[in-house]
């Protein structure tokens, strides 16, 4: 954990981790007995158990698509061969519902050939049909959204969060797959404007890609899409809009590599590379199948956890803590971090003391001190109108420096979430409760 220096006047310098010049060899971890796949549920789905194309006791093979029986674009690709043990609902962050499919792995692996037969036709449709669940690939769906046409694709070779080097590693180690992936992207989308964002020390690798390359600063949070667009492209994203709204699509380097690998080898990639951050903040690159329970990874790396430790999916600034070792590796898990109970920093119930630390560190120049006062009072619309709630890029620096230890970042995310729910017309339990 980077602490405040004695000279507190200077801004804290949070530098993202640069990949070592000697390429690290990822630690390969295999699934011991069981894998869990999480199938995202569409909002408001009920009667979940009967609506799948599979049931308990079914045999699944590697590369098989598990989806809803009814028409829905969500699916997961089985990363293992085995038997379905159970199908259970599972609630993730911010009330996102999943269906957890527990699979007991079989000795012998069999592979699905359906994708191989379609490889000859590299089309956007095939990609959204088979590859959205591949490592890092979920944002590929943005390409097929006809309501928001994409004109620029930015491939990020730099990880957003601190300590994470997953995408840097892919850019350095799997450059041929990235190259192939870019060709496929060009072909299927017809977009010529493809930009690779790479840190300075990977410029040599990136320049071999035959597309425009822009440097990303190592300073956190320069790799965030909003800031990268402003600094490298000179486009300031309007506060209420997302990158897709202005025709820019951010893809991780890993997703492009998965794309390249998928069509090169003719099988759907199911192995995820991620950075594992140990308790002493040393890092190991790990390669494991999607669906591997975290406990297998801890065992493989010899990490032992005690009560009151913390398991985090993602990096130290923007990750999310999970409560169980059974949680699986997901397609978008770029990092897994464990924290010792002694290092867990707690929030407090103090009010804002107006010290102004957040104002000085906020990269989006949001007046956090006023914003948090409104958010504490659940005045979300006022916060958006008067105090720039939507300008927030969600880097978490305000919480990191907060003297009063207010969970500012969580307040902001909650406010955005609630506003999105109200905008969707969902019932709002918070307001209903207050009205009574």
């Amino acid at each position: 954990m980077i602490k405040r220096s004695f000279i507190g006047m200077a801004k804290p310098q949070l530098l993202c981790e640069a990949l070592e010049s000697v390429l690290p060899e990822p630690e390969k971890i295999s699934i011991s007995t069981r894998a869990t796949l999480l199938l995202k549920m569409p909002p408001g789905q009920s009667g979940w158990k009967n609506s799948f194309s599979f049931k308990e006791g079914d045999k699944v093979i590697t590369g098989q698509k598990l989806a809803f029986a009814a028409k829905s674009s969500e699916y997961v690709i089985s990363s293992v061969t085995g038997k379905i043990l159970s199908i259970k609902p599972f609630e993730g962050n911010f009330g996102q519902m999943y269906t957890a499919v527990l699979i007991e792995t079989a000795q012998k692996e069999e592979k699905e050939n359906e994708f191989k037969q379609t490889v000859k036709n590299v089309t956007l449709e095939n990609i959204s049909k088979y590859l959205l669940n591949s490592p890092g690939c979920s944002s590929l769906r943005l390409l097929s959204d006809s309501a928001k046409p994409i004109s620029t694709i930015i491939i990020s070779g730099m990880d957003k969060d601190l300590l994470v080097t997953t995408n840097q590693y892919i850019l350095k180690s799997d450059i041929n797959a990235v190259k192939k992936g870019i060709e496929i992207l060009k072909k299927i989308s017809g977009i010529d404007k493809i930009i690779v964002a790479a840190p300075r020390h990977l410029m040599h690798e990136a320049s071999a890609l035959d597309v425009t390359v822009k440097t990303v600063d190592l300073n956190y949070p320069a790799a965030f899409p909003e800031l990268f667009m402003q600094n490298a492209l000179g486009i300031t994203l309007p506060a209420e809009k997302s990158c897709e709204d202005v025709g820019v699509c951010f893809l991780s380097c890993e997703s492009v590599a998965s794309l390249g690998n998928a069509f090169e080898k003719g099988e759907i990639p199911v192995t995820k590379t991620f950075t594992f951050i140990k308790k002493d903040e040393s890092r190991v690159l790990v390669s494991a199948k999607i669906g591997t329970p975290l406990s297998d990874i801890f065992q493989g790396l010899g990490v032992s956890l005690k009560d009151k430790d913390r398991i985090i999916l993602g990096g130290p600034m923007t990750g999310s803590a999970v409560y169980s070792e059974d949680y699986p590796v997901m397609p978008d898990t770029d990092a897994v971090m464990v924290q010792d109970s002694a290092d867990v920093s707690c929030v407090s119930d103090y009010p804002c003391i107006n010290c102004g630390e957040c104002i000085r560190i906020c990269p989006a120049k949001v007046s956090v001190n006023m914003l948090v006062r409104l958010l504490e009072a659940e005045l979300y619309d006022e916060a958006a109108e008067q105090y720039d709630l939507n300008s927030c890029i969600e880097c978490g620096l305000c919480s990191y420096v907060c003297t009063a230890r207010i969970p500012v970042f969580q307040y902001i995310r909650l406010a955005k979430h609630e506003r999105a729910r109200v905008a969707l017309g969902e019932d709002n339990p918070v307001e209903e409760k207050n009205a009574k």
Partner: protein
């Protein structure tokens, strides 16, 4: 194996280690040089006033915590800090009831009834001193309060001298003596050099923002200079204004109080400068000998509005 319990919380999972208590205690540390000279000049009564002020401020805080049934907050050091700064402004001869009443106004009226730390619109210490100055004027007349002391230096309150007798009365004060604390005044308010050292420590530690003291002192200097140029027989020179009264302690310890001061760059400059200008206006034109307390109080009032001047947020269209 399965029943391990992990801590689940939200991002970020790092915190830079800053906390309210370390802010409070560092500010108290910064006050030590100025206080030490106060002890040297005024002896044990000064120590007594400080001790009573800190302890009574903490007791008021505890009492209010219990009455309002909130969690006990004396551990954050803010009450101790308020008690320290309040004592720094008092003359060493202040009677015990004045100190206790003063800390009541500081902690209860100045801070707790607004909702506790962070919610006070005015600097609690300034509120208390303003109330006491109006209510018991004589105790804040330093010439009268410190009458029985025998000093090695001129035992006359410099600001009162210039107010009543014009700048010819202050020729015997020289700047170095004033900075070294050879003047009468509040316990911790006279040792200019000590306050400046403490202030620089606070700025370096990032606890106070340099914009406020610098613009405050600049406001005092420029306004005093203009007065001095217009009529040097009546108005004192700017350096004298900076080294006397509550100017330095006001600049570094009072105007910079977190909750009642602005946080954006331009508003900090505006509020600091306006408070400085107002200080000299009150001293030179107004009826009070020292204007720091009232000028800071008035600037606290307009801070929330001035603080709306802020940089445009990322992607803000309007």
């Amino acid at each position: 194996m399965q029943n391990k319990q992990f801590i689940v919380s939200h991002a970020p999972f790092w915190q830079n280690g800053s906390k309210i208590s370390s802010r409070s205690y560092n500010t108290i540390i910064a006050a030590i040089p100025a206080l030490l000279l106060g002890f040297l000049n005024y002896g044990s009564p000064a120590v007594g006033v400080l001790a009573l002020s800190i302890s009574s401020a903490m007791i008021w805080e505890l009492v209010m915590n219990l009455i309002t049934r909130r969690s006990v907050t004396i551990g954050d050091g803010n009450a101790a800090l308020l008690g320290t700064v309040f004592a720094m402004l008092l003359p060493a001869t202040s009677p015990w009831w004045l100190v206790i009443t003063g800390t009541f106004f500081t902690v209860v009226i100045g801070k707790q009834i607004f909702g506790g730390i962070g919610s006070n619109a005015f600097n609690p210490v300034v509120v208390a001193v303003a109330i006491l100055m109006v209510s018991w004027k004589d105790f804040f007349d330093f010439d009268e309060a410190l009458l029985n002391y025998d000093f090695e230096f001129i035992a006359a309150y410099p600001l009162a001298q210039v107010k009543h007798f014009g700048s010819s009365a202050i020729t015997s004060f020289n700047t170095v003596d004033l900075l070294m604390g050879k003047q009468i005044g509040g316990i911790g308010a006279t040792f200019g050099l000590g306050i400046i050292i403490g202030g620089i420590y606070l700025i370096i530690r990032g606890i106070i923002r340099w914009e406020i003291p610098v613009s405050f002192l600049a406001g005092v200097f420029i306004t005093a200079l203009l007065f001095n140029v217009s009529d040097s027989a009546k108005y004192a020179n700017p350096v004298f204004h900076i080294c006397t009264g509550y100017t330095l302690i006001g600049a570094f310890f009072l105007a910079t109080e977190d909750s009642s001061s602005p946080v954006n760059f331009v508003p900090m400059l505006i509020c600091g400068a306006c408070a400085g200008i107002m200080t000299v206006l009150i001293r030179n034109i107004g009826m009070y000998v020292d204007g720091v307390i009232y000028s800071i109080l008035i600037m606290n009032l307009i801070c929330p509005i001035v603080d709306k001047i802020r940089p445009k947020a990322l992607g803000k269209v309007v």
